[in-house]
Subunit: 272 residues, 2 copies
DNA sequence: ACAAAAGTGTTTCCTGTACACCCATGA
DNA sequence: TCATGGGTGTACAGGAAACACTTTTGT
């Protein structure tokens, strides 16, 4: 139990609220050169689960929006600003954490690889391959798995992939993102064709010099950098074909003001 | 910094948590006979926004899961048990409700039309056409609009549509659901063909007698009644074609235990 | 010259769409 | 019998998948 005597009383009244953030970045595998998905974790320095790795997060105070709190998580653990940040899910069961009833609103973020390389790492903050995380504190294993699923689903639509990359990129790099997320190889020819016809990607005059082969052209993402707010297609399910580049709609259903000007709904306290 | 703080301190730290629920049902228009989307609202009997209509909801106490609280909303306002219940979004801005900082986790539910007809209505609980709600308390206008968008998105995948119907239904009824949600007419012939080939729908031996025309065959939904938990494809975006009946995957990314055994993630309290 | 990636063309297949048509029933 | 919706057949168009092929670079 925690500390003061009337804890049990207060537990019944109001669950505490915390924000956690799953931060994804791509990093090229040193052997194959292929990009892989990585994420930073922090080591718990308190009970429960002391010493185990966990998602960055902390309690929500009354002065910042959910979004802001998640962005702060990101800054504090990695020194990065998010290029993509979206609400994932609110977890709030009771069969957990013997010490205290807790509701966690989980966000997920994407950062660019150059950034991820620079990102702070220390004794208590380290990056892990997403495919290898296991044994995290609380339910964070499952939350990471869920976030990965959502990432996979979401990339099939739209604009998420670009948030892994800088503002100039080759089609091979973009394809690398898709391959890392979807976990399978894609036909370069068809990939190219699909994305050339995508509306919100434009070729530049530049090419990327210095490679061993023919220098590829650089492209630029012309769509909105700030993505579909809270909106979510999550699982991505339906799309059986694979990619669905720019053909799909981008942000058909905007969450109200939930991002910049977040929304509060108050209890109705209906009948009686 | 957790529990021992005094009261004023704690207010700043911990926003209150509420659950609200958007409940959708179909009801046949008396004139055209076409189904339309309706939802129940409750009249506020307290400040702020006293007297205005609002989504059913209430504060979350420490003894029930988010899911359970939403189900209770549903029961208390409409006397119905949900055939579908899923988390929509967590709203938690500060620029709201002058009286109090509040985070609301919003669920959405689908109920069947027969049930909706029986559902309790009273002075303080009434059903409204979804297309006509306006002037609700707080941001509930926007939340409803967001929920409608998600519904539209979601129906293009998978199994949601069936939750509006009983366990036996004609293809015309099913098509009615889609038309009501998508807001456009669909070709009966193609609709039929797509759904006949859908895996999780099976014809029965029965037909629906008593109509003015040829008696249509009754079908049965064979997929999971309890849907993809917390998972969310939300906006539905990508699917440009329209329906995507059973072809799509059903529940490719299950949220961990979030439904039956909800999950709690605790703050990591990383560095420092 | 050769390897390897960039980039193009072509063919096949699948699926959604449109629409013409027959079938069964009640009035 | 006729109107109406249930139910079937079919032809067309667009896009994805597969893969052969040409182009451009570094070594």
């Amino acid at each position: 139990m925690d500390s003061s005597a009337n804890v049990s009383e207060r537990q019944v009244q109001a669950p505490s609220l915390a924000i956690s953030t799953v931060i994804f970045a791509l990093r090229d595998d040193t052997a194959t050169g292929r990009p892989e998905i990585w994420l930073p974790l922090v080591r718990r320095i308190r009970q429960p689960h002391l010493g185990r790795w966990a998602l960055p997060g902390g309690p929500l105070d009354g002065r910042e929006s959910l979004q802001d709190a998640a962005a702060r998580n990101l800054r504090e653990t990695t020194d990065l600003d998010p290029t993509y940040l979206e609400q994932l899910y609110a977890f709030g069961g009771l069969d957990r954490s013997a010490t205290q009833r807790l509701v966690s609103i989980v966000y997920w973020a994407l950062v660019r690889p150059e950034q991820a390389d620079l990102a702070r790492a220390s004794e208590n903050v380290q990056w892990f391959r997403a495919s290898e995380v296991a044994g995290l504190a609380f339910d964070h294993d499952e939350i990471v798995a869920y976030a990965l699923g959502r990432l996979r689903g979401k990339i099939e639509y739209g604009s998420v992939a670009y948030h892994f990359l800088g503002d100039r990129f080759t089609l091979a790099q973009l394809r690398g993102v898709y391959e890392a997320v979807l976990g399978k190889q894609l036909d370069p020819a068809n990939f190219r064709r699909q994305f050339r016809s995508a509306k919100d990607i434009a070729p530049t005059d530049e090419v990327l010099q210095g490679g061993r082969n023919r220098p590829p052209r650089l492209y630029r993402y012309t769509g909105a950098r700030a993505d579909p707010p809270g909106v979510d297609d999550g699982t991505g399910a339906g799309t059986r074909t694979g990619l669905a580049p720019g053909t799909g709609v981008r942000n058909p259903v905007g969450v109200p003001g939930a991002m910049q000007a977040d929304v509060v709904a108050e209890a109705a306290g209906g009948q009686s």
